[in-house]
Subunit: 214 residues, 2 copies
């Protein structure tokens, strides 16, 4: 399960998902080409997180897409998710690797080469590098641009996904000039028409991969 | 480590712990007779919870007192705590037991005999039964009285600690009439003079144990 297709990595955010449950939204995204799903929940109880994760796991299992849980190693273990993604406010990458063992996927966030190298050294399987662009929903995030993402990609030997304000209008440029292995998106996928967002983004990513000769 | 002395089980609450850090407060409580420590944190990041838990674990390890983490199985694994306590909003007892295996302590909350039997069946090592009394800090908690706690104690074959509004003024009555194995307290220990609270409560509990012939 460690060999992952990072082309289009969707991160859930219930604030964008209206009128349907998260599992339904995830299913639309997967049907239209999302290759990895990260379930991200804040400000809910462990029991609620667990129950949502169980439902989402049913969908990802059905389509054989890896499910990554944001932050909560216990929820990942509880639903037998494929992995965990941790950022600066979460458990350190090395601690997560120790708990999960060698077979689960561990991802780390980085906005600098130094952080990315640290996460790689601690056992991360991939890096979420960003923020590429400024995001209205996350004004506190450090913006490193396509250039900052490219430096991270060049520094590490593990896959890198670009994150932060990437959508169908800029995914082509990000892939082409940063050299990353895929795009990670929240609003870019779940804000609005999930089917159209996913298809358009995937087309732009593939167009850039082709241009790069990947 | 499964053989626990549940006599006086302290649950941390930072809102009562002023002018010192949680590890210091826990050390005072342990020095004065607390036999189990539960670290309970809400509304902080996983990283902060982890860092506090590491500090508290240093103290509990020094005095050879078991450390139980409230809710977060991942934090317990990260700091190698002795166990986890889960309530109705947390992961189910059976899931926690499956993740932690047979050697860690798993505690469950119950306000009814039915819930207590369910937790026991799912693999709980002990029950936190209550609320014994109404608590201003937790107005939503179901109050079951000393009688409700006694029914739970009589129904299960695992240790029971009484929780909810128990302090030095009522611990004697609770122990004497409910037959429980110990008292669990938050405010009863950490609100005010921790040393005096702990000593007084322990004296009352022991007086009732003696009266009961335990
Ligand atoms: Ni260009």
């Amino acid at each position: 399960m460690k060999r992952i297709d990072f082309t289009l990595y969707a991160i859930t955010d219930r604030s964008f998902i209206k009128g349907m449950d998260i599992a339904e939204a995830v299913e639309i995204a997967i049907k239209n080409g999302v290759t990895v799903v990260q379930l991200r929940e804040k400000d809910i109880s462990s029991r609620e997180f667990y129950e949502i994760a169980l439902k989402v796991k049913e969908v990802t299992r059905k389509y054989n897409v890896p499910l990554i849980i944001n932050d909560r190693v216990d929820i990942a273990l509880a639903v037998d998710a494929e992995g965990v993604h941790v950022g600066p406010d979460d458990l350190p990458v090395g601690v997560v690797r120790r708990i999960l063992g060698p077979d689960k996927i561990v991802g780390g966030s980085a906005y600098s080469v130094e952080e990315a190298l640290k996460a790689e050294k601690e056992g991360a399987d991939y890096i979420g590098a960003g923020s590429v662009f400024a995001q209205p929903v996350k004004p506190e995030a450090e913006v490193i641009g396509i250039e900052g993402v490219r430096k991270i990609k060049e520094a590490v030997n593990i896959p890198v996904v670009a994150i932060g304000g990437v959508n169908k209008t800029n995914a082509y440029e990000v892939i082409l000039h940063s050299g990353v292995d895929g795009i990670s998106a929240i609003a870019g996928i779940f804000d609005g028409d999930i089917e159209a967002n996913t298809k358009d983004m995937l087309r732009e990513i593939r167009r850039a991969f082709k241009e790069r000769g990947k």
